[in-house]
Symmetry: none
Subunit: 200 residues, 4 copies
Amino acid sequence: MPAKQRGRPRSPRAHEAILRAAAELVVAGGYERLTMEAIAARAGVGKQTVYRRWPSKSAVVAEAALSGHLVPAGREPADTGDVVTDLRDWLRAAAAWLAEPGGAAVIRALAAAASDRDTDSARLYEQFTGPFHAALVARLAAGVAEGRLRAGAELGAVADALVGALLYRALAHTAPMTADDADALVDVLLSGLDTGIPAD
Amino acid sequence: MPAKQRGRPRSPRAHEAILRAAAELVVAGGYERLTMEAIAARAGVGKQTVYRRWPSKSAVVAEAALSGHLVPAGREPADTGDVVTDLRDWLRAAAAWLAEPGGAAVIRALAAAASDRDTDSARLYEQFTGPFHAALVARLAAGVAEGRLRAGAELGAVADALVGALLYRALAHTAPMTADDADALVDVLLSGLDTGIPAD
Amino acid sequence: MPAKQRGRPRSPRAHEAILRAAAELVVAGGYERLTMEAIAARAGVGKQTVYRRWPSKSAVVAEAALSGHLVPAGREPADTGDVVTDLRDWLRAAAAWLAEPGGAAVIRALAAAASDRDTDSARLYEQFTGPFHAALVARLAAGVAEGRLRAGAELGAVADALVGALLYRALAHTAPMTADDADALVDVLLSGLDTGIPAD
Amino acid sequence: MPAKQRGRPRSPRAHEAILRAAAELVVAGGYERLTMEAIAARAGVGKQTVYRRWPSKSAVVAEAALSGHLVPAGREPADTGDVVTDLRDWLRAAAAWLAEPGGAAVIRALAAAASDRDTDSARLYEQFTGPFHAALVARLAAGVAEGRLRAGAELGAVADALVGALLYRALAHTAPMTADDADALVDVLLSGLDTGIPAD
DNA sequence: TGCTAACCGAGACGGTACGTCCTGTCTTCCC
DNA sequence: GGGAAGACAGGACGTACCGTCTCGGTTAGCA
């Protein structure tokens, strides 16, 4: 029995306004330049109203990310029946999003938020990258079922490689991943490197 | 002719003490909790002495990382002649280091430092992960030359996948990469997923 | 016709609890540390219930003082027929009360409350010190009628001097007024300073 | 040996600017409306620079008062040789100052500052009213020496009565003391009330 | 040997943001 | 309609750091 509700209920408007403000500010200025005061001010809300809901900047950002304010949800690979094409298309789309300034800002903000000591960064990554990872594994498994991909491979490792490479290129931002890079990565993962010739 | 050195030379003791202090503090408390004042205090140095050398916190951390205060330098893959074994060993060793608390702390600090708007994060990543990436590509190229790996694959993409997967698992830290995970990843990259059977 | 009472009548229990809480808190912590939230909490009452009755902290304190929660009411000088003794006794008693920690705390709280810009401090002082002042004047007038005190003196000025000296010693609290101080003050006011010898 | 001076010395300009700002703001808005942030802002100074010197609002106000920023120093009674006239003139002048809005504001601010739990209010009153009190006693003693005032009276009590009556009228501010009130008070103190006729 | 420049530790400076506390108002459910 | 509870916008609190500055005091090369 969850302690009967007493007093004025928390305003959903304020809740929403805070997350929206945080998302806008983090895209505009990056995580380091983001301040709780600015979030509250832009949301038209007292600071206490922010702190009543989240204990820290990183928690607000995490919630904004998880609730879809920072990134449009639903980026699972399609299933056209051709797993190779689906994989390629998904990776190209993801790379394109991360090549935009907004996408990169989100990823970098997430990495910074996750570095905060008091953030449940496992949960953050799990909820943010987890769906992609899981959807990738599912699509790959379907590809195996189709007979298009070989059985026995560790599909989780493949998803790690795909998500990890995207993340790495986005964070390092020497140069974001291009469509060609994406295709090359898919090619390697499909064809492998082994020539079958054993070492001497 | 670079303006002959005049006045008191900068103290190498102070230089070293600052980097050591920064490294210790970042491992102990994470990047977010790190402050320039604490670095200076722990190094027994005035703040100006820090700012005279580096313009920002992230620059100090970057230097600490690059100069081997945060991470033991020299982790290139060995060349035993067997590229598969070398790759596996390197990935296992890297995964093991990142599974330690210290290793994870360093990576997370680096990610946070790189998220600083005013950091040359490209340079940071390049200098930090670059050598590994380059060494991997070189070792892979040698493997191709040996005839052990097929020619024509985009080796940079392979290195991206390896480094990225490590990074992803370390940052997400749901569970750090195990030796088995490492082996599975190498296996996939070597053997590929493709059965050679085209889509319907 | 005074708008017939509608709805639930105001709780006298709450009223009383608020004043008692305010009195206790002001004695315990002084006026500056007193907060409306603490008053409401200690009274077991919602803040609105306080604000419904009084518009400000100083008003609550004023009411607490005036209603006898802060100071026992009824300290007028006695009338034994001997105005000198009565005056001395009254002043000694007042000085003794102000020498206690509680008494001093009340006076200091009152002074602070009266300093609030939006307090009707004239009313506060009038209601708090006014009765004493008036009773003193009355007792002095009776002394004049008795023939014990000379006519023609400005009795209000005498009362000002008595009340003012008490207040001053209490607020300054270098040392509260002693019985001897009280006697000396009465002595001066009765005997005067003038020798009757004019200035050169 | 007072610990050799190290680091940048504290700015006398800032010190002075803070006290001036505090004095202006307290006269303008009263003690309750005074904030540390406003003091710092008006002084063109960081808040820390205020807190580095004084621990609280009341301490700043106390210092401003004691250093003559709130009240022009030097209000001792003159010595024309005629103690009665001197006393009357002094009391009239003091009453006139307290009747002005500025004077009243200062006294009320002082009373409020002295009510702060953590203020050394004894020192505040002693240094603020003490000089007047002492000068009054001195002038009265000179009057005794002149033969104009009777010996044997407790001159401290007389000064208490004068200062106290002024303070009381200023704080209560039902009506500030007028010149006539001042004259009446001096008259009573000089002539006394006693008719010499004993009680029945 | 003395001059001058750049360094050194220390710590104050004007600022910004922090996270907490309180104000006076409001909104809910309950009597 | 009053009452207890508690959220609301607002704003001051006192603290912690930022990056800069100003002290007295080294420590070097150059005169």
